[in-house]
């Protein structure tokens, strides 16, 4: 079924062909995972949000006109649902803080005496991404991980292209500072 276009798959899925919809999920799950996990980090909710993206699409499939590529459309849903999940998480943390004075989980900072291994580094990058403002993070994920152009990123996020360029530059600068100051990792200059 790999030669079948997205339009054909959507048409089949609209007529109730579950295999066609499953094929859409399999085709785009990697892209959605990169977006959602880039936005939320390695948390259990990421999987739920990822599933919600496809369920939301299934329910609104009738309204999909194909004006943008399916991948872009799904990424837009993924960004919106991730931002909603972040808002909910923040509200829950605020509620927990005011109800029993619980503190937010502390980031795991590596022991300076040791050189972090691969897994530590991966966790650190995820954590460093989480320290960025969500708007900066969204730009960094779409532009640097997903590989969307600045114009496409601007369309997905619904902001002017100038804003994307400025947020990207600031996000990279901030991330570099976090890696150096918090984790003691001297990342290479952008290559």
């Amino acid at each position: 079924m790999s030669s079948v276009t997205d339009t054909e798959l959507i048409e089949r899925a609209r007529t109730g062909d579950p295999m066609a919809f499953r094929h859409i999920v399999e085709k785009y799950e990697g892209q959605i995972a990169r977006t959602v996990k880039g936005m939320l980090g390695e948390v259990p909710e990421a999987e739920d949000v990822g599933q919600d993206v496809f369920i939301r699409f299934y329910r609104s499939m009738e309204h999909f006109r194909g004006e943008s590529a399916l991948g872009t459309y799904l990424t837009r849903i993924a960004i919106n649902l991730s931002l909603n999940a972040l808002k909910q998480k923040k509200r829950k943390e605020m509620f927990r803080f005011f109800s029993n004075g619980e503190k937010e989980p502390v980031l795991q900072i590596p022991d300076n005496g040791k050189s972090p291994d691969q897994d530590d580094t991966r966790v650190m990058v995820h954590q460093a991404l989480q320290l960025l403002d969500k708007d900066f993070r969204a730009v960094l994920v779409l532009r640097m991980i997903e590989g969307y152009s600045s114009k496409e990123t601007a369309e997905i996020l619904g902001v002017p292209m100038g804003t994307i360029l400025s947020r990207l530059s600031r996000a990279q600068k901030k991330l570099k500072e976090i890696l150096e100051n918090v984790y003691g990792i001297h990342a290479a200059e952008p290559t």
């Binding site: 499953r22 691969q118 640097m144």
Partner: protein, 110 residues
């Protein structure tokens, strides 16, 4: 030390990802295996639930709507038969009531 992700995130924006970087990203940002099966199971569950309550709703509707429709038709037939006319006033039960009656009743009640 693994620095691929740093290089990916901090590279110059117009530099495309290399094949090696693409496979690295795909490996590090992915869902657990059988993700599509879980999505399909959730959809099936949601629509199964819908299928469960939809016939019940249809049955309840038919049990209420049909008798109400029959009663309305009978009532309209009786009104038309008694009044021998088919106007809005007759159907609303306001035939034979003039504006003076209404206004007069209002003043009396005041």
């Amino acid at each position: 030390m693994e620095r691929k992700l740093f290089h990916i995130l901090l590279r110059k924006p117009d530099t495309p990802l290399t094949e090696d970087q693409k496979s690295f990203v795909a490996e590090h940002f992915r869902f657990e295996p059988y993700f599509s099966a879980r999505v399909m199971a959730r959809l099936e569950h949601a629509y199964h639930k819908e299928r469960e309550w939809l016939p019940g709703l249809t049955f309840a509707f038919s049990r209420v709507a049909v008798p109400v429709l029959v009663a309305t038709i009978v009532l309209l037939a009786v009104i038309v038969f008694k009044e021998q006319t088919f106007s809005l006033d007759t159907l609303s039960g306001a035939s034979g009531i003039s504006m003076e009656d209404v206004v007069g009743n209002v003043f009396v009640s005041l």
